[in-house]
């Protein structure tokens, strides 16, 4: 299952996010890494150092684009200027798939620069699906939508979050970037069983997974991406991998970023679960 039409029939392994503090290490030491994930918006610039560095990375590594500002659930339609910039970057990176979040972040031309949860309604699902279809038609690359970590729920919701995810991806016929840490964080914040979530999504649509660390506060969890992955999340990742097959996986570490080697070592822990899975499959 790992290579599927949602990740463009690729079989990528364990990647890490390309982050500024690691540029020098990567460009000078050229460490072996399966692939790098870039935040698309950081490179949707006209020229200058960001693209200069990206071009050097592209000479040596496979790069996948991950967006944080497409806002597939915002009420406005896709912004043509934004899409043109993404497409220009897609041509540059040759990303096999492109991911962004199942969320909203702007309304009436004002941007919050946050990934905000949707009301889980059928109308919202259709709205998101319509936008995903439009985006995919224009960008001509498979789209994966990522589940959020969230801190609020709406009275208006008509279904669970995973039911909403199902509604959207089935209507849009798109893939899923399954963020296991986000499911865990939301499950604690909204009192649901994270395994119900994992067990009830269309596993064949998962094209990539995210793992990350989070922070515990007295009354809620925050998705901080500033820690190693915690044990309950690794357990969920192992379970998810059994359901989906070994899938391209990326460790997110965005704040208090340690050395490249430390981040990479943490990411490669995921290999343990992939190897166990491969062993089980071979035995079967």
């Amino acid at each position: 299952m790992p290579a599927n039409r949602f990740n463009n029939f690729t079989n990528y392994g364990i990647g890490i996010g390309l982050r500024v503090p690691h540029y020098q290490h990567i460009l000078s030491r050229k460490p072996t890494v399966d692939w790098f994930e870039i935040i698309s918006e950081n490179f949707m610039v006209d020229a200058g150092r960001p693209l200069h560095v990206l071009d050097q990375i592209l000479e040596q590594y496979r790069v996948v684009q991950h967006g944080v500002a497409m806002y597939l659930g915002s009420p406005d339609g896709p912004d043509p200027t934004h899409l043109r910039k993404i497409k220009r970057l897609v041509k540059r990176t040759n990303t096999p798939w492109l991911s962004d979040h199942l969320c909203w972040g702007s309304v009436d031309g004002r941007f919050t620069h946050d990934l905000l949860p949707m009301p889980y309604t059928f109308a919202a699902a259709e709205h998101c699906a319509q936008k995903i279809r439009e985006v995919r038609d224009y960008l001509e690359v498979p789209i994966l939508v990522e589940n959020l970590s969230s801190y609020a729920e709406f009275h208006a919701s008509e279904m669970t979050e995973w039911e909403f995810l199902n509604e959207v991806v089935e209507r849009a016929d798109c893939g899923i970037l399954l963020d296991v840490n986000n499911i865990y964080v939301s499950s604690k914040n909204h009192n649901f069983d994270p395994y119900d979530y994992l067990n009830n999504i269309p596993h064949h649509r998962v094209g990539q997974m995210h793992i990350a660390g989070h922070s515990k506060f007295e009354k809620y969890l925050l998705d901080t991406h500033d820690h190693p992955v915690l044990d309950p999340v690794w357990k969920m990742y192992a379970h998810a991998s059994k359901l989906t097959g070994a899938t391209a996986t990326l460790l997110e570490w965005d704040d208090r970023i340690p050395s490249f080697d430390e981040v990479h070592k943490e990411a490669l822990k995921a290999n343990k679960f992939c190897k166990e899975l491969a062993h089980e499959e071979a035995s079967a």
Partner: protein, 342 residues
């Protein structure tokens, strides 16, 4: 890392006496809380309900925090915020509706304030952390982001300082010069670059009376009343590196306290803020050189631009050599560029 300017229509906002930014309000009687049995089923009503919820949510999170960094207790219309947000946000067994949306309210402000903190180290050094912080809140309240990228957040800062001189008193003029330079730095960092022209390409057989030379889009020319370049360079050497854009959320950042820096004495300075080898440079220009470049940037012909140099008397005798040297240097920097029409 920073990202490009995005032009978007700005929708009129509902600004209240509190000075806070409010999105267009949901219509009177809008049902933000449709009962579960009445399924929206992708209808126009369902879309409207979704948009109204999003507007109310945005209104809540974009309102400035209290002095204690909490969500404001009063809603835009004066009623209790607790009651207003309870209409569309569910509580859980640990957090009220108010507390849940307050998490987003704080994150919005921390994220945007952090962005200005990093983009205007010079202004921060001039004003000190607390005054800069208060100014930033007022700025964001007046100019919320209308771009997909935080790179553009500070684009109205100079205009804001011009209209609100109280924030930089008694250094208004210096502060405006400084933020012009800080914004030019952002433009030079990742602004567009067109194919450069060599000096031979420029002048070979061309008639100066009709020749127009284009300057690179990333290049900004500034005439300042203070040596803001020296000031900013010294401040930037001590600045922290810029953070990453990601979908992660963070607690309120703590920064090392910014050391206030003395305002230098006035000194007219002419600057070209440009990019070389992926780095941003502040180049001091001779006043005549500045006038020539400025005229070229405005689209005047080469002949008219050179006339703008306004060099007379004995200096004019040696001026042609100086001019050649300047143009050769500017061409070597790649400042002259082709346009799609050429």
């Amino acid at each position: 890392m920073k990202k490009p300017r995005r032009k978007r229509a700005v929708v009129a906002v509902d600004r209240r006496a509190t000075g806070s930014v409010a999105h267009a309000k949901p219509k009177e009687g809008a049902n933000l809380n449709a009962p579960r049995a009445r399924r929206s089923r992708a209808t126009a009503d369902g879309y409207t309900q979704m948009r109204d919820i999003q507007r109310a949510f945005a209104t809540a999170i974009m309102r400035p925090l209290t002095k204690g960094y909490n969500m404001q207790p009063k809603w835009t219309d004066g009623r209790s915020t607790k009651k207003a947000v309870a209409k569309f946000i569910k509580p859980n067994d640990r957090l009220s509706s108010f507390e849940r949306i307050e998490i987003y309210n704080k994150q919005y402000w921390f994220r945007l304030l952090d962005s200005l903190y990093e983009d205007f180290p010079g202004l921060r050094a001039l004003l000190g952390d607390e005054r800069f912080h208060q100014l930033s809140i007022a700025y964001i309240d007046k100019h919320p982001s209308t771009s997909f990228t935080l790179r553009d957040l500070g684009q109205h800062m100079e205009k804001f300082l011009a209209k609100n001189p109280k924030w930089t008193k008694p250094h208004q003029k210096f502060a405006r010069d400084l933020v012009k330079l800080e914004w030019a730095h952002i433009l030079a960092f990742d602004g567009a670059e067109l194919p450069p022209l060599e000096i031979d390409e420029l002048l070979d057989g061309a008639n100066p009376a009709t020749l127009k030379l284009n300057l690179q889009p990333y290049l900004t020319l500034l005439a300042c009343d203070y040596p803001v370049d020296d000031f900013l360079i010294s401040v930037r050497r001590r600045a922290e590196p810029r953070g990453e854009a990601s979908n992660a959320i963070s607690e309120k950042r703590t920064h090392a306290r910014t050391k206030k820096v003395k305002v230098p004495k006035p000194q007219k300075s002419y600057l070209a803020i440009h990019r070389q080898d992926q780095g941003v440079w502040y180049k001091r220009l001779d006043p005549a050189a500045y006038r020539i470049c400025r005229a070229l940037q405005k689209g005047e012909t080469l002949q008219k631009a050179v006339e703008r140099a306004n060099v007379r008397g004995k200096a004019a005798e040696d001026f042609s050599q100086t001019l050649q040297r300047w143009f050769a240097q500017w061409a070597s920097f790649g400042w002259f560029c082709k346009t799609p029409k050429m």
